[in-house]
């Protein structure tokens, strides 16, 4: 059994009448890349901010390395590196920003700063003030800052925001290589392709609640997530008929087709034929994380 590095218990946050996070619980295990998925406004950043002791939970708790974290007790965060937004000192250069933070860590020296600047491909701009950086450059500098003290847990909130496709691929590779080095990574993103490529497990957030969590493979695999497309003469009639099948989880019409998830194609065809509707064409399509996500957060 792997150690739990980060765990939330019924975490809840209200801003006035708005419930931003609604009783969520999930564990993040040592050494894994954990994806935290959700549409904009689903509560991802609020959850991360509570984990980082920046926001007071209304109820519930967050534990890091087995120790509770609150805005008044943030000692466990010394083993965490975080990238949340573009939190930097804008009038200082990229190199000076890293040197500034290095003052918190006796073990971090000039070589480490240069190594990280090179790793995030910012050596050429290291002496320019950060206020002149593009969003992508700020993201990369923020990532370097998060890695400065070789944290045991890396918390990344939308790390590829503002990056071009090449930059996004670089960050993905970097995340994977960090995981290979044994660093636990908590990756919040709405970019499903990115999460699918690098994450071992995910939690999907919708309106402040976790609607699914587990290994990526189990979320996107299996009958439940296979889409069966049936071409029929009357899609509306077929849709109505199929709604009676208990195992069908999602159904929609698409032109001359009915798209169904949750049941195998054989069952669907036999059922429709029994209802006097004979499909002219049947295809199946294994779902990816995107279709799972869309299904869950619709």
């Amino acid at each position: 059994m792997k150690n739990v590095v980060l765990e939330t218990h019924n975490l809840r946050k209200e801003f006035g009448d708005v419930v931003a996070v609604d009783g969520i619980s999930f564990p993040v295990y040592e050494g894994e890349v954990f994806g935290f998925l959700g549409p904009n406004g689903s509560g991802k950043t609020t959850t991360i901010s509570m984990a980082l002791g920046l926001i007071h939970p209304t109820a519930g708790s967050v534990e890091l390395f087995g120790e509770r974290v609150t805005p008044g007790h943030t000692a466990p965060l010394k083993r965490v590196g975080a990238l949340v937004g573009t939190a930097l000192v804008p009038y200082m250069s990229g190199r000076d920003n890293l040197a500034l933070l290095a003052r918190l860590y006796a073990e971090v020296g000039k070589e480490r700063i240069e190594e990280l600047l090179a790793r995030v491909n910012l050596t050429h701009a290291a002496d320019r003030p950060v206020k002149g950086y593009s969003t992508g450059m700020k993201q990369r500098l923020g990532l370097a800052a998060a890695l400065l003290h070789e944290p045991a847990l890396l918390i990344l909130d939308e790390p590829t925001n503002g990056l071009d496709p090449a930059g996004m691929a670089e960050i993905r590779n970097l995340i994977r290589s960090l995981a290979d080095e044994g660093i636990t990574v908590f990756l919040s993103s709405h970019l499903l392709h990115e999460v699918e490529q690098v994450c071992d497990r995910v939690a999907v957030l919708k309106q402040g609640q976790v609607v699914a969590q587990g290994p990526v493979a189990s979320l996107i695999g299996g009958e439940q997530q296979t889409v069966v497309r049936l071409r029929v003469s009357s899609p509306a009639a077929a849709q109505t008929a199929l709604q009676a099948l208990p195992e069908v989880s999602h159904i929609k019409t698409n032109g001359a087709y009915v798209e169904v998830t949750g049941a195998p194609s054989e069952t669907l065809v036999a059922y429709l034929v029994g209802k006097g509707i004979v499909p002219g064409e049947v295809t199946t399509e294994s779902s990816d994380l995107e279709s799972v996500f869309l299904g869950l957060t619709k």
């Binding site: 950043t45 901010s49 980082l52 007071h56 965490v80 930097l88 000192v89 040197a99 918190l104 006796a106």
Partner: protein, 305 residues
């Protein structure tokens, strides 16, 4: 990068963890302040004002001296005493207190509130630095900025008036200055800025806005407090005593002592003022209360983007 090695290898790691972290935070805040253009602009403004005011007084004294009327010669002598040592040094400290108050209110509001906009508090807090440590380190650095402003005023004022002393009296009378009192006066002038800095600090934390905190801070300093002082003095009796406890009244008490920098200076006339000891304690209380409230508010705040 030159200072990086020196700062990173500072031998503070043998101290208890809490003290180490506090010293690290002080070092971070000091570095942030030293890289801040606004500080150097304010120091430049302070120096220019001191030089400009003394040049103006010099011009006035020279114009008056060129007149023949005896009364004007007497007036010119009075002005001249303020632009030559030792009188000019005490005068510089008096001007420094007033000017530095405005400049420090602006600097405090900007240094404290803009970090909310930049999310740079989050940068430190998400690394396990306790919230009170962040704010206390910041306020201590603001105190140093206040001292820098006063020292700048003193150096600029004393520097230009040293030239006037040489020009008008043929010598710079170093022996007429009590250097211990100059040092004490400088510290008292910087100390008397603390309630204003602490008030602006509190406002910046409460409003998270540089404009609001500086605006209210300056309004208090320039208008509200002087109106209150005048109103309370007008009412007389115990109300006038209350006025002595306002920061401006406390500053007057400390200035009366701190600006006596000449060897031959008469004893301070403290009539209608608090004793300097009481004033110093009251300033400490104001500062502790405002900074304490700022810490309480900061600890309760949600710091999201």
């Amino acid at each position: 990068m030159d200072d990086l090695d020196e700062n990173l290898k500072s031998p503070i790691s043998n101290l208890p963890k809490e003290i180490t972290m506090f010293l690290q935070m002080l070092s971070i805040e000091q570095k942030k302040l030293s890289k801040r253009t606004m500080l150097w602009v304010e120091i430049g403004i302070m120096a220019l004002i001191m030089v400009g005011m003394n040049l103006l007084l010099y011009a006035v004294s020279q114009t008056s001296l060129s007149q023949s009327a005896a009364v004007e010669v007497e007036g010119a002598a009075s002005v001249t005493s303020q632009i030559v040592w030792p009188g000019s040094v005490g005068n510089s400290l008096g001007i420094a207190t007033g000017m530095a108050t405005f400049l420090l209110v602006i600097l405090t509001g900007a240094l404290t509130a803009q970090e909310y906009q930049w999310n740079s508090y989050q940068l430190l807090l998400s690394r396990g630095v306790p919230r009170p440590v962040v704010l206390i380190a910041k306020f201590l650095v603001i105190m140093v900025a206040g001292l820098l402003l006063v020292v700048t005023a003193l150096l600029a004022g004393a520097g230009i008036t040293a030239l006037f002393s040489q020009s008008l009296n043929g010598a710079i009378p170093f022996a007429e200055l009590n250097w211990g009192r100059v040092a004490l006066g400088t510290l008292l002038a910087a100390y008397s800025l603390l309630p204003y800095a602490a008030l602006t600090f509190l406002l910046a934390v409460l409003t998270r806005s540089a404009v609001a905190s500086i605006g209210v801070g300056l309004a208090y300093t320039t208008l509200i407090e002087s109106l209150a002082m005048q109103g309370l003095a007008f009412l007389g009796g115990s109300w006038a005593t209350v006025a002595q406890y306002l920061p401006a009244g406390l500053t007057q008490s400390l200035s009366a002592v701190g600006n006596r920098v000449a060897v031959s200076a008469p004893a301070a006339d403290l009539s209608g003022m608090l004793s300097p000891e009481r004033a110093a304690v009251a300033i400490a209380l104001y500062t502790l209360i405002f900074v304490g409230l700022a810490i309480v508010a900061f600890r309760r705040q949600d710091l999201s983007e």
